[in-house]
Symmetry: C2
Subunit: 217 residues, 2 copies
């Protein structure tokens, strides 16, 4: 059974993984007859109260909160090697741009969590497929954009696209349920909640994205 890494960044759109996006990635992986390997960094992050949308002042742990989405079946990303995986998927949510890296604060000058950067570089070197959802392509661009001239999408937000292009990656506009496929780099991206107004659009785009990633294995 093919093993597909799913890199989580917490549990909630404003301070972690976007929950719907992560769940639809897990569903699509299972429906393709593959096994999801959930992982997250073991590090703290500042909590956003999702009722008020204000930072609460508390801290939680990325790995511990991501375990909620994974029902406890999750690994510390530091223990995962590219050799353990056939492909890897990055759901979105602000956690991808605040916890896995600080693109949300620093744009193209972002610093990436060292284990996330290490695993992404390993996957690229091994020429294994990568899927990136919503804002997660900004993370991929930060790590791989300059070296591989990756082409990817975060939908059509001009400011974010401009920051992405500063990394050396190429941004391509994309419709909500569409894909940008960078065949050379085996990289597939889809806008999901960067553009979606309905949960069913998110489902459709992510189902398409995961299928395309798995077909590249």
């Amino acid at each position: 059974m093919k093993k597909i890494g799913v890199v989580l960044s917490g549990c909630g759109v404003r301070d972690g993984s976007e929950i719907h996006e992560a769940v639809f990635a897990l569903l699509a992986i299972d429906r393709q007859g593959c096994e999801a390997v959930c992982m997250a960094p073991d590090a703290d992050f500042p909590v956003t109260n999702h009722l008020t949308m204000q930072e609460s002042g508390d801290k939680r742990n990325i790995l511990v909160e991501s375990a909620r989405i994974a029902r406890g079946n999750i690994r510390d990303i530091a223990e995962v090697k590219a050799a353990d995986l056939d492909a890897i998927i990055f759901p979105g949510g602000f956690g991808a741009a605040k916890n896995l890296c600080d693109f949300a604060m620093k744009g193209a000058a972002a610093v990436v969590h060292p284990e996330v950067s290490r695993l992404l570089n390993e996957m690229a070197t091994a020429e294994k497929p990568i899927g990136a959802i919503c804002i997660a392509p900004a993370l991929i661009a930060t790590v791989l954009g300059k070296k591989y001239s990756t082409t990817l999408t975060i939908g059509n937000d001009a400011g974010t696209a401009s920051e992405i292009e500063k990394t050396g990656a190429k941004h391509q506009e994309c419709a909500v349920t569409g894909l940008v496929v960078d065949a050379k780099n085996k990289l597939v991206s889809t806008p999901a909640y960067m553009l979606a107004n309905r949960i069913s659009e998110v489902y459709e785009g992510i189902d398409n994205c995961v299928k395309a990633v798995i077909e590249m294995i």
Copy 2:
């Protein structure tokens, strides 16, 4: 557009709503062309660390954590009346049996959160459809079992089924993606993670359940 209540109990299988179940209910509602009205009680609950599966000793708020699944679009259940809804769905997760009531601790003698009990009774009086997923039928039985002799399922766990029957409800065994339909009481239940080994089974059962509930409107 028909409005379907979704009663959440936190965010995570061990101390709140089962995340996959809640997300698939939201997806099915949208795909049926209906609007989800997410709600939860404004009350505290004890936190379970989902990496270690141990209680952490911390407390969080049910409404605030449920807001993660609802992306902030959620109401205090105390403010929701049956007149606001065309039907209502209860995802599972331990939160349905620990936070919305204490069936997990007390079985048929469970005490139910007063606003959950009030809204469920209003829905039954108004003869509006109710869907209950995974362990949530135990909550429905506790509130409505005696008065309405409801028929429902939590899959095939004999101990839980026996406690459910002590409420006055009838338990019927059911396959993982199947439904138990109590047409007289407009009540549909499905086992989901009470039986499922795969996320795709959970998706299929909940999609069936939500469709059946909406057809009863």
